[in-house]
């Protein structure tokens, strides 16, 4: 609870903020600084998570456990999942781009609660460092990112407790962020700007934040109960003491299924911003996009038990969750066709940003199709806990969200830094990532269908060759990071000057300098009522797409 200060004081508190690069390691209240803090911090964790993924793929080159000891493999696997989800994708698609773009899109100078925003960011680095150092001290958690009991109760307690505390911190950060986004989008809109005129990313973030606020607290409560089971030896989830593991699974998936949408809905929003700019056409089906997002939010909250078809789930529950899950294909399909229709007949400039976005569309439709397949009980029982699930999941979160993160970096880097990225390196990065990703994960569908269980360091020798192919794909993905890293570092110093609006985009973040000034616009915030009014001069409309207020 903070006591409000008179406005005069607040302006001075703003000028007390450090300037220059020091801003980026300070408790800055500027939404753009916080956004970039999220992005850089998330990317560093992505590199760590990537090294862990590399260790997993090296171990799986051979069917015996030779590179990593079995318990180390379990720790590496748990850290990989936790880092990639809670420290890379969730903070970057929500925190980084959300903080940077949402105030521009609603025509505000900052987020609704700048201080809460900074607090939310600064909860992340300690949580991440704690999680990683637990590996070097007493061993990290070994029970996967799901931390299912009784496994999480019987594996060494120290690592598991650190895992719980750091996920609680990250969850808290996520909730604070969600509250901030909802308040900013609904309450800070510039006068004259209607909800249905907002860029699509605002809708995606509104939907995501609703999911965050409704579901993350349930995970927090569950993890607190789990920590009681570990520390105080209560029996909430311990069958030996009369408890019930299924209750954990229900509570866990009540958060963790929406978590998939928390990772992918913002990506939908970002793609909807990028495609129209680079193919010079309005976003197809704006209204249906909005309703699809809200449909996904509602359905996303009532499908969690499709993760539990083999957990003794009663038939009526299987039926309900199969039907609800299959329904999600409808709004998702609408979005897919809208993106294709946006591209259709456009003047596409084939640059790195749109390549990654198109890569997303391709990967996501593949991951979506296997998702519908997995929603069907008979099929799910067959491939449950196999590499098929691993493949499906990575097609959604890597092929989906991570491709969009890269696409967004190529699209907004000129805004962040005022410099252009090198297109040749960008296209090499895309080619390596796209080929490497599909080589790594497409064969895993086959592995899963043939019964290779996931999360185990050792496997049946008949799967050796396909695992090696998958590891080669992973190597390509690792190599693909190098041109990207070189590109962002080199372009920062020696890149071509971008100017304020290199893509000639119409959304409000481009109607200011690159990088933007502290309060976003030198003068008043522009009123952008047609964020996708591309090609407007070819139509009969005489209204210019941008009206400066």
């Amino acid at each position: 609870m903070s006591i409000s200060l008179p406005p005069a004081n607040e302006n001075t508190s703003n000028s007390l903020q450090p300037t220059g690069w020091l801003r980026f390691i300070s408790f800055s209240l500027d939404h753009k600084v916080i956004g970039l803090q999220y992005l850089v911090c998330g990317f560093l964790f992505y590199l760590i998570g990537g090294v862990l993924a590399g260790a997993i793929r090296i171990e799986l080159l051979s069917p015996i456990s030779d590179f990593l000891a079995r318990d180390v493999y379990n720790q590496v696997l748990t850290l990989h999942g936790t880092i990639m989800i809670f420290l890379w994708i969730v903070p970057v698609v929500n925190g980084a781009f959300g903080n940077y773009l949402i105030p521009f899109y609603v025509g505000a100078r900052d987020m609704a609660f700048p201080r809460l925003n900074a607090v939310a960011f600064w909860m992340i680095p300690p949580a991440g460092l704690m999680l990683i150092t637990s590996y070097f001290i007493n061993g990290a958690a070994q029970s996967g990112w799901t931390a299912y009991p009784p496994l999480s109760i019987t594996t060494p307690a120290a690592g598991q407790i650190v895992w719980i505390v750091s996920v609680l911190l990250l969850g808290g950060s996520s909730i604070f962020g969600g509250i901030n986004f909802i308040a900013t989008i609904l309450k800070l809109r510039r006068p004259g700007l209607k909800l249905m005129q907002l860029p699509m990313y605002c809708w995606a973030m509104l939907g995501t934040s609703i999911l965050v606020v409704l579901s993350t607290p349930v995970l927090a409560g569950t993890l607190i109960l789990l920590s009681f089971d570990i520390v105080a030896h209560t029996g909430f989830f311990n069958p030996a003491l009369g408890g019930n593991v299924i209750v954990y699974q229900h509570l866990f998936w009540f958060y963790s299924h929406p978590a998939v949408y928390i990772m992918v809905l913002p990506a939908f929003g970002l793609v909807s911003e990028i495609l129209p700019v680079h193919c010079r056409k309005p976003l197809f089906g704006y209204t249906t996009m909005v309703y699809s997002i809200m449909g996904i939010v509602v359905l996303g909250l009532v499908v969690w038990a499709h993760h539990m078809f083999t957990s003794g789930t009663p038939p009526w529950m299987r039926l309900f969750f199969t039907i609800a899950t299959s329904f999600i294909a409808v709004p998702t399909g609408i979005k897919f066709f809208n993106w294709v229709a946006t591209l259709w007949g456009g003047r596409i400039s084939l640059n790195s940003a749109i390549l990654f976005s198109c890569g997303f569309i391709v990967n996501f439709v593949l991951g979506g199709i296997t998702g519908v397949a997995l929603a069907q009980v008979p099929f799910d029982i067959h491939v449950h806990d196999t590499y098929f699930v691993v493949a499906h999941f990575h097609y959604i979160v890597y092929g989906g969200s991570v491709f969009v993160i890269f696409s967004s970096i190529y699209h907004w880097y000129p805004k962040f830094t005022g410099k252009m990225l090198d297109e040749k390196l960008g296209i090499i990065h895309f080619a390596l990532t796209f080929i490497g990703f599909n080589l790594c994960f497409a064969p895993q569908h086959w592995l899963g269908l043939n019964g290779m269980p996931r999360r185990v360091a050792e496997y049946d020798p008949q799967f050796t060759l396909v695992n090696q192919i998958s590891s080669v794909g992973a190597l390509l993905m690792a190599i693909s990071t190098l041109p990207f890293l070189w590109n962002i570092l080199y372009s920062f110093i020696k890149g071509e000057k971008a100017g304020n609006n290199p893509w000639q985009a119409l959304t409000p973040e481009w109607l200011t300098t690159s990088p933007p000034p502290v309060e976003n616009w030198p003068g008043e915030a522009p009123l952008v009522t047609k964020p996708y009014g591309y090609g407007a001069n070819h139509s009969n409309e005489n209204n210019p797409p941008i009206t400066q207020a």
Partner: protein, 200 residues
Amino acid sequence: MTTLPSTKEKSEELTSSDHQHSDHRLFGLITFLVADGMTFAGFFAAYLTYKSVNPLLPDAIYELELPLPTLNTILLLVSSATFHKAGKSLEAANSKQCQRWLLITAGLGIAFLISQMVEYFTLPFGLTDNLYASTFYALTGFHGLHVTLGSIMILIVWWQARSPGGRITNVNNFPLEAAEIYWHFVDGIWVILFIILYLL
């Protein structure tokens, strides 16, 4: 929290920029309480599931008495009313009376906590005795934590509502308003908890 220059345009519609200002914070607070309520919802769902599928083990002891929790319910409901009175007094710029009501509210909150302690010490089961005992302590404990935080908040508001010298006045009444909404929320949760844990 920073006032944004762009919101100044909006605030023309309203009487004062202060009002506009607190509006966002109240909205943020209510969003937070929705999230907090979901934590309780998760706990209640877990408890109700246990009740329907996990019978009490034969030799386990789990018995609750009604008198003390009923008294607790009354304490909290009365405290909600007294807090409301405090808010009304502040609106009427009567800070002496406002402080008096706040002190009564905090007293009722602390009385609730003491009474809860008494209940804890007289119950025939401990935290780890069985599933229902654990769930009971987790739920009431988590709620008790909320009451503790709320009581501290009320005492801070009480101190800041002093006149002269306090920062809470009938113009800047957001902290009192926020603490009041929070307190009503905690009381509401208690009523649900009382029905689910003691009456069902």
